[in-house]
Amino acid sequence: MREETRKALRRLFSNASGVLGVVLLGLFVVVALFAPLLAPPKPGRDPYFMPVVTWSADPLPPSREHPFGVAGKRDIFYGVVWGTRTAFRIGILVTLASTAIGLFVGSLAGYFGRILDEILMRVTDVFMAIPFLVAAMVLTTVLGTGLDKVMIALIVFSWMYPARLIRGNILQVKEEQFILAAKSLGVSDTVIILRHVLPNAIFPVLIQASMRMGSLVITAAALSFLGLGAPQGYADWGALLNYARNWMLGGYGATFKYWYMIAFPGGAMVLFVLAWNLLGDALRDAFDPRLRW
């Protein structure tokens, strides 16, 4: 197992796009960690809320004091920096929770099979039948605004993917000889699942989790963009882009001067998702070069 991991890690780093992904991610991690230094919050206020910096409702182009410009009366640079933290928070928490739930459900379905599997798979089908964004929209509408509600909504509608994956892998591994051997030796089911089945089935789940990270953040931002997610003024890339929306409809000739409203938060989003996608691709190549695309 160790030798394989070492070989896989070597493959990971020999892949140019994988390295790029890791580097980009590293950059974002640095920005997130050093947010208080890069964009110092006003003392006594919740740093996640972008401070109001101007009276005018019009957006302001980048300047010395506002390097990314001003939108919706708030400093875009601040929003992008602290938005990085928001993105990581949402991404990591939701991925962890949904993967945990998914692993649990998928393992049950895969290992015990038969009726339980059938029922759980039907339930999964039902959850997957509603488009992700729409489902999240419905739930956030019901639960109300707030980042925690957004995260709940995302978790509720994304556990199915790791569940399916782990179930499929378990079904495959279950048929392997060494499982039958362990069973015949009297090893209990739980131990078999934890010690033999899961370690073999875990890697695709990790890869999938990294790919999902990107789409999760996009959906969360989409919700904020629609005004359903983060509360007014919260440092979230989607919320920042929401400010841009109305100004883009300003009519012919009027919009290009507001390029910074889209470029900076949008650019941050694209690079963030790109980083996760590249990492996921590189992970996939590393663990199974046959799937290289």
Partner: protein, 360 residues
């Protein structure tokens, strides 16, 4: 699930097996729809009875000065959820989805009025997505590991990493704000007038089709111009997945032995690639294409909102923002229905495309 089997069998797929399979899938269909409705209902059930009251009132005026508690009692909003669900389901099956606050009309008619616009957008976007995705995917596979391949892959990965609203805003900014080519909305004002006038017959509800059927080329072109922005957005963001699948599939097929046999017969390389390899490579792509198109429906929520278009997507977005629960439920239920039926059609068509399919 349908899966191709490569091993041999003395007899082919019989018609009866196929029919059994279709029947089984059709049987599961209501079950899934039932499940969706239950899920939705449970979500809405998280709301308090007063909020849910709004879904039953046909016109806001009737709420004025009314005793809300009495109304809650009247509509049975304090009854156990199971009973409420049963009642609601009965209504749904009768076509009564409640009143849309956003649309100022019954939810069902609001949906049916707007759906054709969304369908139109989806269909227009599906064509370039499928075409570009597959042909570029084949091109990338044929140039495996050469600069063109790398270039296409980068182009695709970047597109895939773009959230649709970011790209949509870019498109709006550049192609509308700066260049003035692709305006938002469904139609220009003058075209709108024509469509609303009694001389214009609405056959399908889809602007382009109706314009053609009415013989109005100018309206048709105007509608196209308004479709360009959203279609461009949806295309760039979605085609990458198809490109990727096509490329992988093509690369795999090019390694297969029957491709070598085709060459060994003396066929020209072009024929080998286009007749033998592509035909096999596109099989998995076909189902993915179907799923992508169906997935586009969800994408319309954002795109219609950004481009200020009328449609089911923007309807749901607006309903969410305005907390119009009846509209949200109805719209989502409708989306779910389309998705499930669409996926079923895609799965069934797979059996037609791949002669190897053995129905389990």
């Amino acid at each position: 699930m349908l899966e191709p089997h490569g091993d041999c069998s003395p007899h082919g797929v019989s018609l009866t097996l196929m029919i059994f399979y279709i029947l089984r899938r059709l049987l599961f269909l209501p079950l899934t729809l039932f499940g969706i409705s239950l899920l939705l209902f449970l979500m809405i059930g998280l709301l308090g009875p007063y909020q849910r009251l709004a879904t039953f009132i046909n016109s806001p005026e009737r709420l004025k000065g009314a005793d809300v508690d009495k109304l809650v009692e009247l509509y049975g909003l304090n009854d156990p959820l199971i009973i409420q669900y049963g009642r609601w389901l009965k209504n749904v099956l009768r076509g009564n989805l409640g009143w849309s606050y956003v649309g100022k009309e019954p939810v069902l008619s609001a949906i049916l009025k707007r759906f054709p616009y969304t369908l139109e957008l989806t269909l227009f976007a599906a064509i370039p997505i499928i075409f570009l995705g597959t042909s570029l995917g084949v091109l990338a596979a044929l140039n495996h590991n050469r600069p063109l391949d790398h270039g296409l892959r980068i182009f695709a990965v970047v597109g895939w990493s773009f959230p649709d609203f970011v790209f949509g805003l870019f498109v709006l900014m550049i192609f509308y704000g700066t260049l003035g080519w692709f305006p938002p909305g469904n139609l220009s004002v003058w075209a709108e007038e024509i469509v609303k006038s009694p001389y214009f017959r609405n056959f399908t509800g889809m602007l382009t089709l109706d314009a053609l059927l009415n013989g109005r080329l100018d309206v048709f072109l105007d509608a196209l111009r308004h479709l360009a922005g959203p279609v461009l957005t949806l295309t760039y963001v979605e085609f990458a997945f198809l490109l990727r699948i096509t490329r992988s599939s093509m690369l795999e097929v090019l390694r297969k032995e029957y491709v070598r046999t085709a060459r060994a017969k003396g066929l020209d390389e072009r024929v080998v690639i286009h007749k033998h390899a592509k035909r096999n490579a596109l099989i998995p792509v076909a189902t993915v294409s179907g799923q992508t198109v169906i997935g586009l429906l969800a994408g319309t929520v954002i795109v219609e909102t950004i481009f200020n278009r009328t449609g089911l997507g923007s309807f749901i977005a607006l309903a969410s923002q305005q907390l119009d629960y009846a509209s949200i439920m109805g719209g989502t239920l409708f989306f779910g229905l389309i998705l499930v039926i669409g996926n079923l059609c895609v799965d069934l068509s797979y059996a037609l495309i791949d002669p190897r399919v053995r129905l389990e």
